[in-house]
Amino acid sequence: MVAKLDTQTRRWDDSTNSTSTTPSTYSSDSSSLDSNEDGDSSDELTQPPPTSTSEKAYGTLHSEFGHCLNQEYRRTSRHTLGSPVKTAEEHDPPYYILLSTYVSYLFLICIGHMRDFFGKRLTATNYIHLMSHDGYAALNSDFDSFYTRRLKQRIDDLFSRPVTGVPGRTIMLLDREFSANNTNQHLTGTRTRALNISSYNYLGFAQATGGCADAVEEGIRQYGVSACGARLEGGSVDFHMQAEKLVARFVGMEDSLLSSMGFATNSTIIPALCGRGSLVISDELNHASIRFGVRLSGASVRMFKHNDMESLEALLREVISQGQPRTHRSWRKIVVIVEGLYSMEGTLVNLPGIMALKDKYKFYLFVDEAHSIGALGPHGRGVADYFSISPRRIDILMGTFTKSFGAAGGYIAGSKTLIDSLRAHGHSGAYAESMSPPVLTQVIASMASIMGVEPPLPPHSPRTYVNGHANADRRAIEAYDYPGTAPTSLLPQWLSLPPHLRDGSEGRERLRRLAFNARYLSIGLQKLGFITYGHPDSPIIPLLLFNPGKMPAFSRMMLARKTPIVVVVVAYPATPLVTSRVRFCVSASHTKADVDTLLRACDEIGDALDLKHGPGKRWSVERVIEHAVELVRGEVE
């Protein structure tokens, strides 16, 4: 099995190399991304299909944001009230796949150790930095770096691929060449444009043209590129205040606080939320930034099984009844930290389940909406919007602008008291650089275009909140406008947005395209027979490969296709050992045809690599494509 895969991989290696001079790759020193200047005008990646009427109807560059006018290919992202929430469900692959996965790891590890063994003796100079020498301990001992050197290095060409231009619907790769066992790489000077199914560009706001980019240009003219300091010292501009108010309104909270880096939003703010004597209950798959922050906070930490409400409840019962370790004093407070949408699993947090527990167990809830804000919910306001739960029943909402908004940085939103306390006690306020003005402009412009600027849009759906709980503060819930529009008073006066952004129509279009694409790809892959994880409405769709040898094969085969596709593959240690996977992130910028292309590619490669081990009846790829709309609407089984 392993040997077969190995040869398969190698064969694909070769073909990758040999195709690197085919027409899909071209060399050009012109760095302009305009398709015509680039000379790849015949490419389906840059040219809209002839049926679609035009850039005029869309006003976007097809390579950045695809033209897809068919209103059938739209959907509203919303949880059906009362239906059960699909949490993690895992299909186990056949036993032989698991076995061969273990065997391949064993094999790789053995080979690695042998190479180390001989390498250290024959080419000792290559190992100097891994061994103690000259009175210095190794910076990174041969043991600690084993995984990196002997496993990851073999597939280094799949990671950190350098790119240029906009990470939009398509992306331009700078081709690399590797030598000396992947230890050296250099750019060949050629480029490859590929379909981008990897960037966190959920709403397609990664654009160098269009209303948001125009606004950013104006922002740079007005403000320059830096706000010159920390928020509490000399780095606050009026723009920060405006953006904070708008963000608060967007997510439906009283107030919000911005931070110039999404990671730092967690790592520098969580320590201000809880400390010694408090307990953090964290989902076992929470992001590194959350762990970083929790570790700095000094609070005790317990973990529960990923998105498993029973595990959470059992843990809550235990920790509340036992109190603090040894002393049994009761906890000062308990903060449960979860993510809205998990970036490696595609699972959606079981928010209704957590809210029920929250009412009973009185913990505070922190939801990291890095991936879900903008990407989920009929109004793009994240998981609370998706589940029709009032955001004010959640205590702390955190999110980042790096994903759906095509910007950078993050926010924390909550009650005024909480946010003021975080302003004063969080690390960012006093010590970290504030968010830079161009980034602020992108945040404001993209957010306002999702919300629509006043006068308000006609309501396209009646809202019902699930808040029949005695504890819920009804007054607070009814007293604000959510999910409301962006009042003109909260936008900078110089900001001008084109009409289709101003009235929220394009924003809504983006939300609906994303919702369609997400569900189409996820259900389509399942119909083809793949094992995917996650919620069907999640724009993150992991497809399970299991065997580590299939990662390079899959990724290289995708890139070597006539229409190259770039994908993200992840394996241990980012995932459990056996569940290596490829992760797709769909975007509103993809057209249905793009998803078709991807499905066809997966179908072919899936057969070649023996990846189709999912349950249920299989469909042919053409049948899936033909019945896309019915599949998404759930009209066919």
């Binding site: 950045e64 003796r121 024959l122 000259d134 210095y136 301990a137 910076l139 990174n140 990671f159 950190s160 350098p162 906009v166 990470p167 992306i171 966190y200 560009n201 706001f205 160098a208 980019a213 950013v216 007005q222 403000y223 320059g224 830096s226 706000a227 300091g229 509490l232 010292e233 000399g234 780095g235 009026d238 110039s260 990671f263 790592s267 520098t268 970083f292 973990m303 059992a314 235990e318 509340i320 009844s321 036992q322 370790p325 049994h328 407070k333 009973k360 009185k362 505070y364 790096t402 950078a408 009650s415 302003r423 006690h425 010590y431 970290a432 650089e433 830079s436 161009p438 992108q442 993200v568």
Partner: protein, 542 residues
Amino acid sequence: MDDVEAALKPVVYYLSYALAAAEYSFYKIPGSAVIARYVKSSHQNDPGRTLLELLLVIFAISTLLHSRTRADKSGRHFIKFTEKEIDELVDEWNPEPLAQPLDEDEQADLAAVPVIAGASGPRPTLVGTGKTVLNLASYNFAGLAGNETIKDRAIETLRKYGLGSCGPPGFYGTIDVHMDLERDIASFLGTEAAILYSQGFSTISSVIPAFCKRGDVIVVDRGVNFAIQKGIQISRSTIRWFDHNDLNSLVEVLEGVEKERRKRKGPLTRRFIVTEGVFENDGKMVDLPKLIELKLKYKYRLILDESFSFGTTGRTGRGLTEFYNIPASQVDMLVGSVANGLNSSGGFCAGSKVVVDHQRINGTSFVFSAAMPALLAVSASEGIRILQNSPQTGVLERLRENVRAVRGVLGGVRCVEIPSCEESAIVHLYIRSSSSEEDQSYLTTTSAKNNPTSAQPRNPPTFHIASEERLLQHIVAECLSHGVMVTRAKRLRGQEMVEPRPSIKLALSAALKREECVFAATVIGDAFVRVLEGEGRMGVAK
């Protein structure tokens, strides 16, 4: 053919030798003979079984590692409750509020933060009063804020790349302009390579734990900034503290660590010295040549935070290495801020290729965070170009002249004490107290012994934080009413390992004219005198 044979000979030799050695050492482990016999016999009976058993062992280990999520019911302190009792306990439990409302001082502090209307720069307009002020609070050292060339380059970049990178560097977030900026920084400093992080503050708190693990030794200055404190806290290494900016104390600590190690006869561990070039908290400068000499002598690696010296100190702003004329490659990990020094955003770590590549996999906030927006990287590259040309344009010379002008005025004010060194573009101002002469002398007394395991200094200087901060805040307000924007150095009281002394932190800029600096300094000096005299405590320690 002969060649191959010759090459193989040592291989075969080593192979047999190593196998023999492995066998020998294996049999030295008590009980190993039993295991060996078991494995041998089971393998003979059924070779497939060996494999299965191996897998079982792996499974066992992985479940063990996973059990962290299970409830800890085996503990000695576990009390068994019935479900009913648990329900009662849950009902009875009353958590504290999530956040306490700010007290009056804190509220006033937040309200007093100056907010600039429009672009920041040397002479901005403030929200609220609408007045134009001289800005000695924002970091604009080389005067890059509002630079038109930078704006043009940023807009050009926007039109090619959009704004966000929409992904971490590992997954299609590595844009060519990031690689360019990394190369620019490395060649500007003269190191092999550099790596970019997307926030300055979060840089060193990821760099330190990328290298320093449990069991490693970090020797660190007691006066380091908050970001370093967080980095060493995350690292879980063994920490030894030396007195602030006192290299004699460093020698003592290094000797102490060496003695400890010899006593324990432990294996060689990684050892690091962590300190700052120009200290964020008081503007003092480390004696880099001496520091390098010590690190080489004792075989430590040096992590140097140049967040406030990169872009300001040295002839072209390359920092301490340029100022002391030391090759930057002598510093193992040189950390700097792109945000402070180049008026953009982010931070970097420069060093050898090995050091940098290691961080691309192990630098937490590098790996798990989106890469910085392309236009900010390009702005920073442009900033470096401006610094490189500074000998011709005289930008940094103007900055130094402004520092001299301000120090000249304030140095003559009796109630002001300036701890910062002359090369520092941030100038801290303390309230001079009568006991400050004694404060100076404690450094040289050897009566109390340094306890390197504690962050607390042996004779902590005495100052009253709350009252000094209140006075300084009055001074800040007083300056503002005269059109000069300054700020207290904001600190998270109660969270710093050693409480830094309250100060006013001036950030000077090449974009200010000399006369403006003299004017501002006079206003500040007057404000000090007026406020402190008003308090009737001119030169009196609380």
